[in-house]
């Protein structure tokens, strides 16, 4: 990666009004660029809001749509990471995020893990993504995750193995209340998750969560950047729309990966062997007779 200044766009989208939200994206991009940012990161579903329910199919966009073209135009002079409902050619609706640069889509990520428990009901309305890939952004190899994706540790690990040095995580995470000494508890929970993920992957974690309120869900902001040592290098409070530009230094990443060569020592073969065994067990699939490679044969 190269040194890059990233803007955290902690916004409160208007629920279901894509046109108004697109205007706001444009305004925020202009401000971020004026403040010297090269990349602007928006929250999950930043183009439509979160509690969409039956509006999912009504707001969905496709490659080539007028809205899609406006998104591309947004990235003419600053890179943009933006969240939206993407309709696939087979009419599946995905909770997706796109990295746009120089007027075109560089990478599309479809959320892999759609939470469907507690206050969440995403998989009633949307389809899960099936692939996870890092991609070459202008400033370095990167990956995109959406909210719940980060709660499955394989996601960040696979992106790192695929070479990602910057992991963008877009979120719509609501508050679940407060506790003495902790403030808004979900902020601390995310901070822990982000710092651990950054340390394990020796990568930059760029986390942008929305604010605002929909049907009583109070989205808890707390956007932050964590460096590859797990240190917070910039953060925003749990409320209020705000914009923060944070420099990501390539030298810090190099130092962290020198001090902690975890990715050098990662063992995909081990993981693959054991996953294949677990997969056969889980789905009762035929396969080779179990052998313990450590036992060896004379």
């Amino acid at each position: 990666m190269r040194d890059v200044r990233v803007a955290l766009a902690q916004i409160a989208p208007v629920l279901g009004d894509t046109a108004v939200n697109l205007d706001r994206h444009r305004e925020v991009c202009r401000r971020a660029r004026d403040e010297g940012a090269a990349v602007v990161v928006f929250p999950e579903l930043s183009l439509h809001g979160y509690v969409l329910q039956d509006q999912v199919s009504e707001v969905a966009i496709r490659e080539g749509d007028p809205t899609w073209r406006r998104l591309e135009a947004l990235s003419a002079d600053v890179d943009v990471v933006v969240g939206f409902v993407e309709e696939s050619p087979g009419h599946l609706f995905h909770n997706a995020a796109g990295y746009f640069a120089r007027g075109r889509l560089v990478h599309l990520h479809r959320k892999l893990y759609l939470p469907n428990y507690g206050m969440f009901e995403e998989s009633r309305y949307m389809a899960s993504g099936r692939t996870l890939r890092a991609f070459d952004a202008p400033h370095g190899r990167s990956g995109i995750l959406i909210c719940e994706d980060l709660w499955h540790p394989t996601s960040a690990w696979l992106l790192s193995l695929d070479g990602a040095e910057i992991l963008f995580t877009l979120s719509c995470s609501p508050s679940r209340g407060t506790r003495p000494g902790l403030g808004v508890t979900s902020v601390g929970v995310w901070e822990r998750l982000l710092r651990v993920s950054a340390q394990f992957q020796t990568a930059f974690l760029v986390y942008v969560n929305r604010v605002g309120c929909e049907d009583g869900l109070l989205f808890a902001g707390g956007s932050m950047v964590v460096d590859p040592f797990g240190r917070i290098v910039g953060s925003l409070p749990p409320s209020d729309e705000d914009l923060l530009v944070v420099p990501l230094e390539a030298e810090v990443l190099r130092r962290a990966r020198t001090a902690y060569p975890l990715l050098r020592d990662a063992d995909p073969d081990l993981a693959l062997r054991e996953l294949e065994r677990l997969r056969r067990l889980r789905y009762d699939l035929p396969g080779p007779v179990e052998e313990d490679p450590d036992e060896g044969t004379p």
Binding site: Q55, T178, V184, G188, V189
Partner: protein, 284 residues
């Protein structure tokens, strides 16, 4: 070891909150909900009790006192202290305050009603207050701000379409004991915090007599059953009477109708409530 992971359901029955941040979240909630509906202000029924005082204080902090109208709606048997306390609350948080005597409205109905017991009469009063509040909200282009707390909601301790009716409710996810903590934090007048909670629908009525247990105890049981989702036996293992635990669970189940819209028979392909699903804050 200190508690540091409060989303963890293993912290069973935890009721403590961070008052400053809770206020902040609830002020945001009120301001955003009022703005998105294009309204200018809220109307809140001021009973003189702690719940409506907390709602009024939050609204005053969120919108500024001049955008909040407190309405006291006494009946002739209401405790005179209630009105005094309501005035005190309105003064303290700097909101507008009006008094509308509901006696003629209630009595006009009561005269023609047969076999009215205190509970039915109480429901009539609560619904008459609702009529005045919603009418005023229409007159002022305002939203009705609710004051039903989580303890009341879960136990069904309130009048459906009466005091439970509102457009937005900032304290519906706070137990009574948590409302008290917020009240102290916002410096609600001490006499309002200290007095025994009462619906004041008839002389001498007290919440804790009717509910059969103190709010401290009820909230502990509710936090265990509802938030931590533990079994009755496990809840009782923390030293609470098993009979009370079971009674609370029964009350939660039996009052479910008060927390839902009317049941609609499904006879079409897309029905309100089942497969016509949009958020309340649709397109705003």
């Amino acid at each position: 070891m200190s508690v540091e992971w409060s989303d963890d359901p293993a912290i069973e029955g935890e009721l403590r909150i961070d008052e400053r941040w809770t206020c902040r979240l609830l002020e945001d909630f009120i301001r955003i909900e009022v703005e998105r509906t294009g309204k200018l202000e809220v109307v809140v029924g001021l009973s003189g009790g702690i719940d409506s005082a907390v709602s009024a204080f939050l609204a005053a902090r969120a919108l500024g006192g001049k955008h909040v109208l407190g309405l006291s709606l006494p009946y002739r048997t209401s405790d005179p202290d209630s009105l005094e306390h309501a005035r005190l609350v309105a003064r303290q948080c700097g909101i507008r305050h009006e008094v509308v005597d509901i006696t003629p409205l209630v009595d006009a109905f009561v005269e023609g009603a047969v076999g009215l017991d205190p509970v039915r009469a109480g429901n009539v009063m609560a619904r008459q207050r609702m009529i005045v509040l919603f009418d005023r909200s229409a007159a002022h282009d305002a939203l009705v701000l609710g004051s039903t707390n989580k303890t009341e909601l879960l136990l069904g301790y309130g009048t459906l379409h009466g005091d439970m009716a509102s457009a937005i409710n900032p304290i519906g996810d706070l137990y009574k004991t948590q409302v008290r903590a917020l009240a102290a934090h916002m410096e609600v007048p001490a006499e309002v915090i200290a007095k025994p909670p009462s619906a004041d629908l008839w002389p001498g009525q007290k919440d804790e007599d009717e509910l059969g247990a103190s709010y401290d105890l009820l909230d502990r049981v509710l936090a265990l059953l509802v938030d931590a989702r533990v079994s009755d036996d496990r809840a009782a293992a923390s030293g609470i009477d098993l009979g009370l635990v079971r009674d609370v669970r029964r009350r939660i189940v039996r009052s479910q109708f008060k927390r839902k819209l009317p049941v609609i028979a499904k006879v079409s392909t897309r029905s309100v409530g089942w497969d016509f699903r949009y958020p309340r804050d649709w397109m705003s």
